[in-house]
Amino acid sequence: MTAGAALGTGAATRHTARWVAIGVLVVAAGLIAVLATRPPASVTEVQSPLVGKPAPPVRGVTLTGAGYELPREPGIYVVVNFFASWCEPCQQEGPELVRFQYEHSRSGDASMVGVVFDDTVGAARVYQSTLGASWPTLADTGGALALSFGVRAPPSTFVIAPDGRVVAYIVAPVTAADLDRIIAEAEASHA
């Protein structure tokens, strides 16, 4: 290069590769920075277009064949849990949901609604009775309710505030403590 410069040849053009390399490095560094600062994909609460908006209507036929409709403004926190009997994470969270329901049935400040996702009514019924779940569970044959909530896979859990807004969407097994924390946070932000 020095010889080229000494000869007075287009030294500027010879730096093209250097500038291109620097450009590529800057872009790559930027990309790494963006990817590194994004929240990890494994967080349980995920973004949903529904969060902060009024929940879609929750109505249908329960596993026992009765009609059910959640009021638009339920007045208490309602946990809507999409599950399937074949889904292992659902089996993992099942006892936690039973615990949550038990704890809040006394205070009456929160309740549970189950929705069968991708499962037969029979299998879901057997699963629910084995678990000891006593909350209303909608059969959702055809998956219309799952679509209205944008559910992709079980378990998916939504927390609906007393005013009918969706305050959280969780796509991993939840614990009673998780749900209590989410409700406490929603209460705090609402107050």
Binding site: T9, V34, L50, W86, T120, R125, V126, A144, L147, G150
Partner: protein, 445 residues
């Protein structure tokens, strides 16, 4: 691009433009039907529970639900955009296979545009520079003596040759040029420089043989090959020998008039254009039935019958593996689209009966019965349904006579020996309870 290759490039450009116009589908005139619109939307919407599959090609229950919803929304009179928005409002923008043109995803759309624009700019700059270089490079000693050139032009040519020499030096030092090429280039430019100086002084051009050749060639090429970017820069390329002299075509060919070589290029260009036109006509004739949203390269998709068969096979495999829940879902998915599929009715009915019996659920057993009865109506000759119905009658109702009636038809339908063996216990129980003799093929146990 040279004058010789111009027709070729023009023909190729024309083919490209017409192919793009046809491929983009802007020529399709008839408005799409509701089914075509639904398919177009379904092929850009991701199956909610799958990885990178559109709902159009997925048979997952969630995909079936989305498909039904898309068709329902279209029937309600919503536009394609509104249908997509409906799904995005529930699942988020990732439900659409194409990334959204907003936020960070915008980069995915803009990057190719910027890249393409940058490539065009670079190409343009390079072409303009080389054309400029060739134009300056073009005049050789042959035309220098003809008229007294403008001193400014002469000075420019001298500067170009000096620059060319310096470039050769630099490239040689950088190891980009071989010894032979460097010497050839250097000799050529020195000779040209000398010729330039001689011309400026009104002296005839030097009689160096290679210099004369180079000059003549430069003169002839200055019109015929005016835009050749590499002329004179790479002595070992083309039909030029390392010493810069032309070894192939005669240097005396008259510039401007089409030579035999030029004519053949025109013929080639014409042939490519004709082939392109024929190709376009063929593509237009045979590819005009492409549905909106369908890829231009086509895709492997199974017919509806094949899809149902595949789903039933998958369900049977799952059932054999003991994954009854998943098998039941698949049977249900078949029934959602084909409510009268006898195999799905029979198998789901049987699964529901087993689940209902296990969970002591009368309503589920009732559902199972209805499915089995419908299945036997649809295909009275299916031995499996007869076996299922017989078993339900025996176990649930204690109706041995009814069960035997079904089992007789089961045996009459030539069931495989393994099926008879598996059901032997139930068969014997039914026959014995009804006070009848057990058929010989059932065996005595």
């Amino acid at each position: 691009m040279t004058r010789r290759t111009f027709p070729l490039w023009t023909a190729l450009g024309a083919v490209l433009v017409v192919a793009l116009v046809i491929g983009s589908g802007v020529l399709s005139s008839s408005p799409p039907t509701a089914a075509q619109r639904a398919y177009a939307i379904e092929s850009v919407v991701r199956c909610p529970s799958c990885e990178d599959l559109s709902v159009a090609v997925s048979s997952a229950p969630t995909a079936l639900t989305v498909r039904a919803t898309v068709r329902q929304l279209i029937a309600e009179g919503r536009t394609d955009r509104q249908v997509e928005d409906y799904l995005v409002a529930r699942y988020g923008s990732s439900i659409v296979l194409d990334p959204p043109a907003s936020g960070w995803s915008l980069v995915v759309w803009l990057l190719p545009l910027f890249g393409g624009a940058a490539a065009l700019v670079v190409l343009g700059v390079v072409l303009v520079r080389r054309r400029g270089a060739v134009a300056t490079d073009a005049p050789g000693p042959a035309d220098l003596g003809a008229a007294s050139p403008d001193p400014v032009v002469l000075e420019e040519r001298r500067r170009f040759l000096t620059q060319s020499l310096a470039d050769a030096d630099a490239e040689y030092l950088a190891g980009d040029l071989s010894d032979q090429d460097y010497l050839a280039l250097r000799q050529r430019d020195m000779v040209r420089l000398a010729a330039l100086d001689a011309g400026a002084a009104g002296v005839p051009a030097p009689t160096d043989p290679s210099a004369g050749e180079v000059g003549a060639q430069a003169a002839s090429d200055s019109t015929a090959d005016a835009t050749d970017p590499d002329r004179g820069r790479a002595p070992s390329e083309g039909n030029r020998s390392p010493d810069g002299s032309r070894t192939g075509a005669p240097a005396s060919s008259t510039p401007g008039r089409p030579t035999r070589g030029h004519r053949s290029w025109w013929f080639l260009g014409g042939a490519v254009a004709a082939f392109g036109a024929a190709l376009i006509v063929a593509v237009t004739l045979f590819a005009s039935h492409r549905l909106p949203g369908q890829t231009s390269t086509g895709s492997i998709s199974l017919s509806q019958g094949q899809q149902v068969e595949q789903t039933l096979n998958q369900a049977a495999t799952l059932e054999n593996q003991g994954q009854l829940g998943q098998a039941a879902q698949l049977y249900q998915s078949v029934l959602n689209s084909h409510p009268d599929n006898e195999v799905a009715l029979a198998q789901l009915g049987w699964l529901e009966y087993q689940t209902g019996r296990q969970g002591a659920s009368a309503s589920l057993i009732g559902d199972a019965r209805a499915k089995l009865n419908r299945a036997v109506q649809l295909d009275p000759g299916d031995y499996a349904v007869r076996l299922y119905l017989g078993t339900v009658l025996l176990q649930q109702d204690g109706d041995a006579a009814g069960a035997v009636d079904q089992f007789r038809q089961f045996l009459a339908d030539n069931p495989p020996a393994t099926a008879v063996q598996q059901a032997a216990g139930e068969l014997r129980a039914a026959y014995q309870k009804a006070g009848l003799q057990v058929p010989p093929q059932v065996g005595r146990g």
